[in-house]
């Protein structure tokens, strides 16, 4: 069917004149401004047709807005997703739901479609720990909402797919270095080139990057001595420091990170082969939750390492049948060393410092086959049938060691040694009979021995009543399988949970998108229901006693948690966004906001979510004049006041909150005239508040109820300068607008 109303007719009917076009190419520019996404359905389609709410962050945006990591990109440029930084790995939330200390478990992180969340902890890192050299990122597709229909576990809040550059976009050699005053340094190199391999065209893109953080110094409000300590001995919180019972002060050694990483992508014939390797070592700047660490200890740290392989092959057997095959294998390990005064932390005498050493290892490998049936051969009616078969091996333990000698003083706890298979068939049916209708239905079944088989369905409808207007409705479900760390680990601080049900989220959303010339406006509403949320719950005395009588907990275990399916979440709200260009594309800008009502329902009644803002958003603007003119860019992120991360302590007169916070980043970038291939970027960041929403130090429960807890500081000011050199990049094409 061809007849559809034009947007001009709509505007006229609304009494609006067609936009005053200063340039008669606006219709063309509008067509060129739409984003093409692949993550939502594994097929390339315009974002307005995709069966999900999405935003795309481009490589150019990463460069001109001074972005250095995925979490910064999301914070300043993505729709519907919020980042909160506890000075460890950042917490990511979406649509009003953020779970402190989540380790990225409720987002699925993909790199070129390859899932990186590990099965032992479910973790995904979004800062430098993601292990992807930022120079080689082509775009980041951020899908908000459940995405298990094609990808399985963890895709509850959304799916973030980091897509790396092809050779044509990274041709030549590239070297760069950046220095952030008193804080960090980053350096990297990359190359892209093509060649003939056994008569077939082949291309390689490769990059390495090294990041190091060494500051700033952080100040934590000092907490007066609050309890008498073990054996009546006044606690000491700094190794070698005074036994004055005072926690807090300046952290100058414990806030550090090192992250080497590398990526290699080889494409030859119909094969796409990629390898990712990374490590991420970071300090533990303050005591939090179950982690009680000596203050400002540079010998306490966490370390991730990962090695990932992926080989994909595409074959078009006929116009009707296409096959995509993938073989993948990942290795991930995690280590954490937490040092603490032996008497206070381990109730031991005879040596001064004890160390809790946690080690975990996960390996997984699998095969995925995907068949695409193009019924009418014109891609309007396509059935996708897939099967992902995976095997996972995990092991973990926790040792308690004498820090000075390295010798264990008690047997290992938290021992896990397990393996399990996972079989996941899935199906997606798309139907695009004309220009104004897109239908997408699908479901995935995940079968593994640790949980009951679970189905994740999705149905989506996009209608375009006018050429530039899209109405979209989506229903989707996702789940997260409990990790081995939640079910099988038993230590003095955590009791084994045994079996847990998977978390499930159901989501219903609707949106309207209107394009007007080079402007795009979107308004959407959503409603989600979460069930069986897995959380650590502190055991009651009776529950502890029961486990102790069975020998599952030692007699001296106090403050023990156990992961349980304890809560449901109810969540609804809206997303709104506006982005566009003016001045023949030189001025680009965007603005988005999310407002949400989110409540957690559990045995304690209906509660606000800790550390989760219910209003947040970001805005950005940049001007690209072309040529050698510097490119000014400004990005702002905002979140409203929210509860601190451990607010529900009996005795507080009022529930403590963290104030609203805005973060601004101003960047100037460009190329030096007369110096071929040499570019720069200078960027400064300012945060309006000095503290965030994360409690630090002694747990609030043992502080006087009239004392507000100490909050972790925010790095308010920073500036960095970067230089880069690109060479041998020529392909004969000049850039649009004449940019060098």
């Amino acid at each position: 069917m061809k007849a559809r109303w034009s947007s001009g007719l709509l505007l006229a009917s609304l009494g609006l004149s067609a936009p005053a076009l200063a340039d008669d190419t606006e219709s063309l520019e509008s067509a060129l401004s739409q984003s093409v996404v692949t993550t939502a359905s594994t097929q390339a389609e315009s974002a307005s047709s995709a069966p999900a709410t999405s935003s795309t962050i481009t490589a150019e945006q990463l460069r001109i807005y001074g972005i250095r990591s995925i979490d910064e990109a999301i914070q300043f440029l993505a729709l519907g997703v919020i980042v909160s930084d506890p000075l460890r790995t950042p917490d990511l939330g979406a649509r009003g739901v953020l779970l402190p200390g989540d380790d990225g478990k409720h987002f699925l992180l993909l790199v070129d479609g390859h899932s990186v969340n590990d099965p032992l902890y479910g973790a995904a890192r979004f800062d430098q720990g993601a292990g992807i050299p930022i120079d080689v990122i082509d775009r980041i597709e951020v899908i908000v909402g459940p995405g298990s229909v094609l990808y399985g576990s963890n895709a509850m809040l959304g799916v973030i797919n980091v897509i790396t550059k092809l050779e044509k976009d990274y041709r030549g050699g590239h070297v760069f270095g950046e220095y952030e005053w008193d804080r960090s340094a980053r350096a990297g190199a990359g190359a892209g080139f093509h060649f003939d391999l056994f008569g077939e065209r082949a291309e390689i893109t490769a990059a390495v990057e090294y990041f190091r953080r060494f500051g700033p110094d952080l100040s934590f409000d000092k907490q007066a001595p609050v309890f008498s300590g073990v054996n009546g001995v006044t606690p000491t919180y700094r190794r070698g420091g005074p036994a004055d019972g005072i926690w807090g002060g300046k952290v100058s050694d414990a806030y550090f990170a090192e992250a080497p990483m590398g990526s290699l992508r080889l494409r030859v014939a119909d094969f796409d082969i990629s390898v990712l390797a990374s490590a991420y070592r970071r300090g533990i700047p303050y005591t939090y939750g179950l982690v009680d660490v000596d203050f400002d200890d540079d010998q306490s740290y966490e370390l991730d390492r990962a090695l990932r392989f992926d080989i994909e092959h595409y074959a078009a057997a006929s116009a009707f049948l296409q096959l995509t095959s993938r073989i993948y294998a990942d290795g991930f390990d995690y280590q954490r060393r937490v040092n603490r005064d032996a008497l206070q932390g381990c109730f031991r005498s005879g040596f001064s410092t004890c160390q809790y050493y946690t080690a975990g290892r996960a390996r997984w490998a699998g095969i995925e086959e995907r068949i695409s049936l193009n019924w009418l051969k014109d891609s309007s009616l396509v059935t996708l049938v897939g099967l992902d078969a995976r095997m996972r091996w995990v092991s973990a333990k926790e040792d308690a060691l004498n820090f000075d000698t390295g010798e264990p003083f008690t047997s290992s706890t938290g021992v896990v040694d397990a393996r399990a298979g996972l079989l996941s068939p899935y199906l997606q049916q798309t139907y695009k009979p004309n220009l104004w209708l897109d239908l997408n239905f699908g479901a995935r079944l995940d079968v593994e021995e640790r949980i009951s088989p679970i189905v994740s369905p999705r149905g989506a409808l996009a209608i375009r009543p006018f050429e530039l207007t899209t109405l979209k409705g989506v229903y989707s479900q996702a789940f997260r399988a409990p990790t081995w760390n939640e079910t099988d680990v038993g230590t003095i601080r955590q009791a084994r949970a045994g079996s847990l049900e998977p978390e499930v989220v159901r989501s219903l959303e609707g949106s309207i998108e209107q394009r007007v010339a080079t402007q795009r406006l979107m308004f959407g509403v959503f409603r989600t229901w979460w069930e069986n949320l897995v959380e650590p719950r502190t055991l009651t005395g009776a529950e502890r006693g029961e486990l102790q009588s069975r020998g599952e907990l030692p007699i001296n275990a106090v403050n023990v948690v156990q992961y349980r399916n304890v809560a449901t979440l109810n969540n609804y709200g809206y997303n709104a966004s506006w982005d566009g260009t003016l001045a023949r594309g030189r001025l680009s800008y965007g603005l988005n906001a999310t407002a949400a009502f989110a409540r957690r329902e559990s045995g304690q009644g209906s509660q606000l979510l800790p550390a989760a803002p219910n209003f947040f958003g970001n805005a950005h603007v940049a001007y690209v004049a072309g040529g050698y003119a510097p490119i000014p860019a400004l990005a702002v992120s905002y979140m409203n006041d929210r509860l601190i991360d451990r607010p529900y302590v009996s005795g507080f007169r009022s529930t403590p909150t963290a104030p609203p916070i805005a973060e601004l980043r101003a960047t100037l970038s460009g190329r030096f005239p007369g110096l071929t291939g040499i570019g720069y970027r200078l960027s400064g960041t300012y945060a309006t508040e000095s503290h965030g929403a994360y409690t630090a130090g002694n747990i609030p429960e043992i502080i006087s109820p009239t004392t507000l807890p100490t909050l972790a500081p925010v790095d308010q000011y920073s500036v960095f300068l970067g230089l880069r050199y690109d060479f041998a990049t020529g392909d004969g094409f000049s850039e649009p607008g004449g940019a060098p």
Binding site: G350, A359, K397, I555
Partner: protein
């Protein structure tokens, strides 16, 4: 914090270093037995009339299993170690004998005796 404060870990070691070892370690916890039991000075300080820990001891006497537990730790000399974990290692057989858990009614009195012995009878009891 100055650049270069930490040793620069080579990329190869960080990324391709030896696999993390998750083999559990077993440590034989010796149930320390002081052999000679508890010294007279220590007993007097804990149980003597008008002595610092007498009130805690009286509370223990009034609770089921507590007198038996206390007699057991006295015989094993478990007031000698300074740190709680070492005392627990010594007193594990006593703990097992009365099935002591965190919800046992005798536990508060047992903990009070432990605290008192480490604080008010430190000089008389602690020898390690």
């Amino acid at each position: 914090m100055t650049l270069g404060r930490h040793l620069l870990l080579p990329l190869a070691v960080l990324v391709f270093g030896a696999c993390v070892d998750t083999t559990p370690i077993h440590v034989e916890e010796t149930h320390k037995d002081a052999g000679a039991g508890t010294s007279a000075e220590c007993r007097e300080c804990i149980m003597g009339e008008g002595q610092p820990c007498r009130s805690a001891y009286d509370q223990c006497l009034a609770l089921p299993d507590c007198p038996e537990f206390h007699q057991c730790v006295l015989e094993r000399g478990c007031y000698s170690p300074a740190a709680l974990e070492d005392r627990l290692a010594c007193g594990q057989p006593c703990i097992d004998s009365i099935h002591l858990t965190s919800s046992h009614p005798a536990l508060p009195a047992i903990l009070a005796l432990n605290d008192c012995s480490q604080r008010d009878c430190r000089a008389q009891c602690i020898t390690e």
